[in-house]
């Protein structure tokens, strides 16, 4: 059942709607309590088969998705949602192995949190993901033969637009803004994801791979996003 409780925010405005997809009722309820305390508006769905329709119904600003669900598998739900929207998706998972993480991120998730997690941590990530949408000045950047129009969120090569998720776009912009600087993974996590504490740098690896797959002519020989061995990544020459 989809439950959309009335907004419980103190001053009548909520910071965003969160769709919680998890089959454990206690955990879902606890998440609801925590999110509401922070001023978010939670909605719940516990059955994998109904997750996508719930998504369409509630139009959340962010989705918290558990992988182990009855009915439809969490990875598949993630892919389904991704075909429809670029809304931030955060995986909740008990499995922290790289394989599982990479699978989840490649299915379209923007982040993952391993159970058990601190509520503070989760809230910080949700906040960071929601904040990402805001940008500012008009600027136009370029790396190699790729043009980036920042306010329009458009990336083109020779006039042909390339579709990137907001996260991938932000990653590219962060690199392009300082073409000669080498970004460590921690720095990227802070600038692009907004995480100040030590988070898992595998996130960065997987997203760079995804970005490369979309934007490089030859992902094996990258020219746009270059690896600096042992340190991190940097943008190719403009």
């Amino acid at each position: 059942m989809v439950a959309v409780p009335p907004s419980a925010a103190q001053n009548g405005t909520s910071r965003g709607r969160v769709l919680v997809v998890d089959d454990d009722a206690a955990l879902a309820e606890m998440l609801g309590i925590v999110l509401r305390r922070e001023g978010y508006e939670p909605a719940f769905v516990s059955d994998g088969n109904r997750a996508v329709s719930a998504f369409q119904q509630t139009r959340p600003d962010i989705v918290l998705l558990d992988l182990m669900l009855p009915g439809r598998n969490g990875l598949q739900i993630c892919q389904d949602i991704r075909t429809q929207s670029t809304v931030p998706i955060v995986m909740l998972t008990a499995k922290g192995d790289t394989l599982d993480v990479v699978q989840g991120l490649e299915a379209g998730a923007d982040d993952y949190v391993t159970k058990p997690f601190k509520p503070v941590e989760l809230v910080a990530r949700v906040r960071a993901q929601l904040r990402r949408g805001e940008t500012g000045q008009a600027e136009s950047l370029s790396i190699g033969d790729v043009q980036i129009d920042v306010p329009a969120h458009q990336v083109t090569r020779d006039g042909v637009p390339i579709a990137l998720t907001p996260l991938e776009f932000d990653l590219l912009v962060a690199l392009a803004r300082k073409p000669r600087q080498v970004f460590t993974r921690e720095l990227l996590l802070e600038q692009v994801w907004g995480y100040r504490h030590a988070a898992d740098t595998r996130l960065v690896n997987v997203h760079v791979q995804r970005l490369r797959a979309k934007i490089e002519r030859d992902p094996e020989k990258p020219e746009i996003v270059l690896t600096v061995r042992g340190v991190g990544y940097k943008a190719g020459p403009p």
Partner: protein, 610 residues
């Protein structure tokens, strides 16, 4: 050709035997003097005289001879070195073949033994036959000579001493007669010598050239009376020297007059030599053939044994590589079949056990991940609830607030313990995966130090990091290495009793090392042995501020091992402890040494900064 016959001692009935004399017409052709290679210099003809060293005539510039000799010496030396190296290489190759192949060993040994036996037997056979041939010849020859002496005696009885012409005629006639007699001893020539006192006439010979070839010792012996024989080289009709058996005897001339007559027979040994040569070549050829045949049989027999052994070795190797279904083919009932049967039984047992272990390991892995998931979800809920309560504790009455605090901290501990346990069980199940990547070690160490600075401040410890200025990139799993270092630094701060904690890192060409030194209570050698054990604590009453589960060092050790690295500890009661983590720079390589020493170089009171 007939050196063998010339070397035989001859026995002439009961006469004194005379050792043969080695004919000096023979020259040993085997030794040839090696002439030095002509110097490859363009020495002008004028300086051909050896020993001309010094300024050459002014009109022609040329190199001094010493330089030529030097160059020549160098070339010879180089050649010698090359030859020596080549032969060394061949020797090494031969030694390797000897060691590695049973067939080579058996074949060589058989060849040597069979060859030696064949050679000895042939030599013995050969010398027997030769002696036999010669003695037959000798007996026949002596027989002939004695008959001839008797005949000659009759003939010379009527010699008129003074009449040299008749003497001559008689001698010639006798010689001719003697020669024309056939003999079982084969061909021969006759010489009769007539002496009066000391003078000697020209002898009557059936063939020219024999008489001068008669050795003087023989002549002397015969002259002193008695029959003597000797082997010598005597020229034949065409002047070629052949080995010959010479027999000489005096011919009694009636009343002891001053005249002496000596009769010499020369029996050429052509036929014997030919027979012997034929015999020798036959023996040599058959000897070689026999040896080869024996070696061939030995190799064949060896093959019969070595082939099954090789097959078994191949199958065993495939088994070892993981193909557990390999088995040997059992044929017949002999020892080899028994070997095959036992081998197959062993392989069956191994396969069963390995499959069992693999399934057990899989079970354990599945259990780990199932438990992991099942435990974590309720724990998450509980922790979140506890956190909510904790954050609102100001609103509670004191005892409720305190309960909320305790619940919060203990749940943290519980969560840490659970994580550690699950991590350890992953190592036990062999399911731990090393996710290595090129990582900047200096940055990693500094990051950990920065992360632990808050804790250090709380304990009043000063945290220092020192390392090389240049970047070191190592292929490591950053998450695990950070975990190890956080554990080590946390332990150092906790046990450091407020003294500075020094983190040092260094690298050489193959490895990198990080040491964490504290100056706290330290460890005794016995404690150092146990410090990596699971749930082991040095002092159980110690206050745990770092939230340890007792598994931190065990996990760190497993993490280090996963990288192929080392985690070691040095400690001294009262002087603190130093933990050293050593990791190979390239993933998958073996460590042989560490860039930093385990025992701190200087044991001094902290206060001096490195």
């Amino acid at each position: 050709m007939s050196q063998a016959s010339a070397e035989a001692t001859c026995h002439v009935g009961e006469e004194r035997s005379k050792p043969r004399e080695r004919t000096d017409a023979h020259r040993d052709p085997a030794v040839s003097t090696t002439r030095p290679a002509p110097p490859a210099t363009d020495a002008s003809p004028a300086s051909s005289s050896p020993g001309t060293v010094g300024p050459a005539p002014a009109d022609e510039p040329r190199r001094p001879l010493s330089a030529d000799l030097g160059a020549l010496r160098r070339r010879l030396r180089r050649q010698a070195t090359r030859t020596r190296r080549l032969s060394q290489r061949q020797a090494a190759r031969a030694a390797a073949a000897w060691r590695s192949s049973l067939q080579v060993r058996i074949g060589t040994i058989t060849m040597l033994v069979a060859g030696t036996v064949v050679v000895i037997v042939s030599l013995v056979l050969f010398s027997q036959i030769r002696d036999q041939l010669l003695s037959v010849k000798e007996l026949a020859a002596i027989d002939q000579v004695q008959t001839g002496v008797v005949y000659a005696q009759n003939e010379v009885a009527g010699i008129a001493a003074g009449d040299s012409a008749s003497v001559r005629a008689t001698l010639d006639r006798t010689v001719k007669q003697l020669k024309e007699r056939g003999s079982p001893a084969g061909d021969f020539e006759v010489v009769m010598v007539y002496r009066t006192g000391d003078s000697e006439r020209a002898p009557a010979v059936s063939q020219r050239g024999i008489y001068p070839a008669i050795p003087p010792e023989l002549r002397a012996d015969v002259a002193s009376g008695g029959q003597y024989a000797q082997y010598a080289m005597v020229p034949d009709g065409s002047g070629q020297a052949r080995p010959t058996y010479l027999v000489g005897a005096p011919v009694p001339t009636g009343a002891g007059s001053a005249e002496r007559i000596e009769l010499y027979y020369a029996f050429p040994l052509d036929q014997e030599a030919e027979s012997l040569s034929l015999f020798r070549s036959t023996v040599v050829i058959s000897g070689i053939a026999l040896t080869l045949f024996v070696v061939g049989i030995a190799l064949l027999v060896t093959r019969l044994v070595v082939d099954p052994v090789r097959r078994a070795a191949g199958i065993a190797q495939r088994l070892a590589e993981g193909q557990l279904e390999e088995r040997m083919v059992v044929r017949g009932e002999d020892d080899l079949a028994r070997l095959a049967t036992s081998f197959n039984a062993m392989a069956d047992s191994l396969q069963r056990q390995i499959t069992q272990l693999e399934s057990l390991s899989q079970l354990q892995q599945r259990f780990t991940s199932d438990v992991s998931h099942e435990l974590r979800t309720p724990l998450t809920t509980v922790q979140m609830a506890a956190d909510v309560l904790y954050e609102s504790r100001a609103d509670f009455p004191p005892h409720v607030a305190r309960s909320a605090e305790l619940m919060h901290t203990e749940l943290d501990r519980f969560e840490a313990l659970l994580t550690d346990l699950l991590e350890i069980s992953r190592y036990d199940a062999g399911a731990a995966v090393l996710d290595w990547e090129p990582t900047d070690l200096g940055a990693l160490v500094r990051r950990v130090a920065a992360g632990m600075s808050a804790l250090a401040e709380r304990h009043g410890c000063e945290l220092t990091v020192s390392g090389p200025a240049q970047d070191v990139i190592a292929e490591v799993d950053a998450r695990r290495v950070e975990r190890i270092l956080r554990n080590l630094v946390g332990n150092a701060i906790e046990h450091g009793t407020g003294q500075p904690v020094e983190i040092t890192w260094a690298a050489n060409r193959t490895a990198a090392a990080v040491t964490v030194r504290d100056h706290g209570v330290g460890l005794s050698a016995a404690e150092a042995q146990h410090v990596f054990d699971r749930f082991w604590r040095a002092d159980p009453s110690r206050v745990r501020t770092v939230g340890g589960s007792g598994l931190g060092l065990s996990i760190s050790l497993e993490d280090a091992r996963l990288h192929g690295g080392w985690l070691q500890v040095w400690g001294q009661p009262g002087a603190g402890a130093q933990f050293r983590l050593t990791l190979p720079l390239a993933a998958g390589t073996d460590l042989t040494s560490s860039p930093l020493p385990l025992r701190p170089a200087v044991l001094r009171r902290p206060g001096g900064v490195r």
